[in-house]
């Protein structure tokens, strides 16, 4: 059963994903800076080349690290290191630049942006804004001091100021959006959790009740059709059982709950659970019904082929059916154990799928026929597909 609750209410996963994306963004800007230095033919003194490159690399590594750690002082320290790296780079690169160059040159703007993006990974709006602003200020000061020391003309770097401002606006919007999405979520989570538990308890109670009613009903009918006279042993046995069940209904609940737990364990033990999880990883939600514990009665080799075929059938649903939902049902037949994979996807006309060997359903069929089983496929365009796979009881573990 999949969870019907929002997953990333606190935005932790979103923050982590933003941090990883920011590492890429920062790296691209720093790499572009390096390319621009080459493309512009900027002359750096021979001894200064390694220092400039080291400065750029240090800035990049410090930014990446700052996006991976969460301790505020750690982040601040790494931003200082990034600022120092940028100072080193800006100082070396601006050593021999002519008087026409200004401090707002693009080769200085790009690394500033690379350091400013460190703010996107903040755990709160305030933290994000502080990080971005501190990063921007540190990078700007580093560039201005370094270029000023080498005599470059001071100039306000409008593009970097605009980008910092843009980042601030987008961060504010992001956090505003997050707060809107969270509105009512606590109520929703509480309500959903309660409802899910109520549903599950109701299911257990209803199932136990149904079992009891069916048994008692059968026994009452048996009594009504029996001839008058002394009770027979069969009567005595079911009367004792029914009285116990009615007097101590907890026993029946235990039986039903244990059966449910047993099914979950059977799913794992039989090897069906990994197949369902694998389908889930592909985005396909699979509901399992029937009695998965029946699979444990199969010979391991037969079970392997059976589950391989089921996996293949679910892969076909993922690839061709155009639906996000499927059902796997396990049931026993008179002489067989059956597994049905059903989807309500686009389906197909039988003739259109006949063709070259190597089709997925052919290898699926071969797997099942290799263990003396049969495969039947029903499909109608627009109405989904059902694949029934059966293996004879004779191939079960008892004689396997």
């Amino acid at each position: 059963m999949s969870l019907v609750l929002p997953t990333d209410v606190e935005g932790v996963l979103t923050g982590r994903a933003l941090g990883r994306a920011a590492i890429w963004v920062s790296s691209v800007f720093l790499l572009s800076t390096f390319i621009l230095v080459l493309a512009f033919g900027i002359v750096v003194p021979q001894a200064g080349v390694p220092l400039a490159l080291t400065g750029l690399a240090v800035a990049g590594l410090a930014v990446a690290w700052a996006l991976l750690v969460s301790h505020p002082w750690g982040v601040l320290g790494l931003m200082l290191v990034a600022g120092l790296g940028l100072f080193l780079f800006a100082f070396q690169v601006s050593l021999d630049l002519g008087p026409t160059w200004r401090s707002d040159s693009i080769i200085f703007t790009m690394p500033k942006i690379a350091i400013t993006v460190v703010g996107v990974d903040g755990r709160s709006l305030l933290s994000s804004l502080l990080r971005s602003t501190i990063g921007f200020v540190l990078a700007s000061v580093a560039v201005q001091v370094a270029t000023r020391m080498n005599g470059l003309v001071f100039s306000f770097d409008l593009p970097s100021i605009c980008i910092w401002f843009g980042i601030v606006i987008l961060l504010a919007m992001l956090w505003y959006g997050r707060s809107r999405a969270k509105r009512g979520v606590s109520t929703m989570q509480a309500a959903a959790a309660v409802e899910e538990r109520v549903t599950e308890r109701s299911r257990v109670a209803a199932e136990a009740s149904a079992v009891l009613h069916d048994t008692v009903l059968d026994d009452l009918l048996a009594l009504s059709l029996s001839p008058p006279g002394p009770l027979v042993d069969e009567h005595r046995a079911f009367l004792a059982k029914d009285i116990a069940s009615l007097a101590h209904p907890g026993l029946l609940v235990d039986e039903v709950m244990n059966r449910g737990i047993g099914d979950a364990e059977a799913l794992e033990a039989s090897g069906l659970a990994p197949i369902i999880r694998s389908a889930g990883n592909r985005g396909l939600q699979v509901v399992v019904s029937g009695e998965p514990r029946l699979l444990l009665e199969l010979d391991p080799r037969v079970r392997g082929e059976f589950l391989g075929a089921a996996d293949q059938a679910l892969s076909n649903v993922s690839r061709h059916a155009g639906t996000l939902f499927a059902e796997v049902a396990v049931a026993s037949g008179s002489q067989s154990i059956n597994l049905v994979v059903t989807d309500s996807g686009r389906g197909f006309a039988a003739r259109t799928r006949r063709g070259a060997p190597g089709r997925p359903e052919l290898s699926l069929r071969r797997r099942i026929e290799d263990v003396d089983g049969t495969v039947v496929v029903w499909s109608t365009p627009g109405q989904g597909t059902s694949v029934l796979m059966s293996v004879p009881v004779a191939r079960c573990g008892a004689d396997g």
Binding site: L3, T7, T14, V25, A191, E196, R201, A205, L246, T323
Partner: protein
């Protein structure tokens, strides 16, 4: 849509609420940047009509995205995002053509900025592979337009110009792809973890289950049948009277079972429940839970109760033509065999019905394959199929 690989918004529609606000902000930033850069560099415009067309395409592109990202709709589909992406790409090309021969500095072109921004917002809406493809195409287009303006400046100059114009596209496009891949992987892992936690929780609910079991119509069974069975066991003999009583108890039990089967728990949560085809039986646990949660939310609003709610289930367009009375514009799009539902929550005029419901629509979208919400002046209509 292929089942393999869903977008972040499809896995967790709540992220779509944040993403839409983000898309609106990014759209504004794109338009403001374009306007500012155009006003600051009027001398570079060679063809004002082309520039005007570029603006129209840009505004239309982001406007379409904001419309498509409405949290009451299912998702920003590939086609819907494709329209936005295409329009912004066209805007970038038109902006470049409008400056043909007069573009002295590619650094102040807004085309690449707009393209980069439209790629940036794709992180929540599209799959990583699609974003990568979009980034490569955008980088080629931006490089092409840059070459168009810098054809005579030599290789170094060309490299410099394309780096300046392409960096933002590669940075934000690649960043969006990484964001999407990381978020999707995280959401899936989190969902699996939550599933495991819940599976292990059921055992603790045994006592409550027994209480509920005792609270069901088993009580009548215990009252009627238990004394009869005890008496019979004590006497150890069956009389004609016992046989008649057994037949009568069986008849009562059968009719009680039939009544219980016809009971629909959702019925008690709404004022009007219409399910002539008994389709509620086909709702799975997730869908029931989502419906119950949304109904509980509506009924729990100040001044509202279950009597303000209606739930209609039907096939194809049946539900759409039911209680909501014409709110089901999309009913014709649904295949006839689909089961559909329509939940109507009526509100007084004093309260905006859409206030705060987006997360609940998102919850519905987690459980149902298709959900549409139609807010009206004094009600909200949520249509779903299952």
């Amino acid at each position: 849509m292929s089942a393999s690989g869903r977008t972040a918004q499809e896995i967790d529609p709540l992220s779509g609420i944040t993403a839409r606000i983000f898309a609106m902000a990014v759209g504004c930033v794109a338009v403001i940047s374009a306007t500012t850069l155009t006003l600051l560099n009027p001398q570079e415009i060679g063809s004002p009509p082309l520039m005007l067309l570029a603006f129209v395409a840009l505004v239309a592109g982001f406007g379409h995205l904001v419309w498509a990202a409405d949290p009451f709709r299912r998702t920003v589909t590939r086609a819907r995002y494709g329209i936005t992406y295409g329009l912004v790409l066209v805007a970038a090309v038109l902006e470049s053509l409008a400056q043909l021969g007069r573009d002295t500095d590619v650094r102040n072109d807004w085309g690449p900025i707009a393209v980069a921004l439209v790629l940036m917002v794709s992180g929540s809406y599209r799959r990583p592979r699609e974003i990568v493809v979009g980034t490569v195409i955008a980088a080629l287009v931006v490089a092409g337009t840059t070459v168009l303006h810098s054809g005579t400046v030599g290789l170094a100059g060309l490299v410099g110009a394309t780096t300046m114009s392409g960096t933002l596209v590669v940075a934000l496009g690649g960043g969006a792809a990484i964001f999407a891949a990381s978020l999707i992987a995280g959401l899936r892992a989190e969902r699996r973890r939550s599933d495991d936690v819940r599976r292990n929780r059921n055992v603790r609910d045994r006592r409550r289950a027994i209480e509920e079991f005792l609270g069901t119509d088993i009580e009548a069974l215990r009252r009627e049948v238990l004394p009869f069975f005890r008496d019979l066991k004590l006497r150890d003999a069956l009389t004609d009277g016992d046989r008649q009583q057994a037949a009568e108890l069986a008849r009562l039990l059968r009719s009680s079972l039939a009544r219980r089967l016809a009971d629909e728990p959702l019925e008690g949560l709404v004022g009007v429940f219409d399910d002539p085809l008994l389709l509620a039986a086909a709702l799975n646990t997730e869908q029931r839970t989502a419906l119950r949660t949304v109904l509980s939310h509506f009924a729990g609003l100040p001044g509202r109760s279950a009597s303000d709610l209606s739930l209609v289930l039907g096939r194809g367009g049946v539900a759409g033509g039911g209680a909501a009375g014409g709110a089901a514009d999309g009913a014709a799009d649904l295949p006839a065999e689909r089961m559909t539902g329509e939940l109507v929550a009526a509100f007084g005029a004093e309260r905006g019905p859409t206030a705060g419901i987006a997360p609940f629509v998102g919850l519905m979208q987690l459980a149902f394959p298709h959900v549409d919400a139609h807010p009206t002046r004094d009600a909200i209509v949520i249509r779903f199929d299952f």
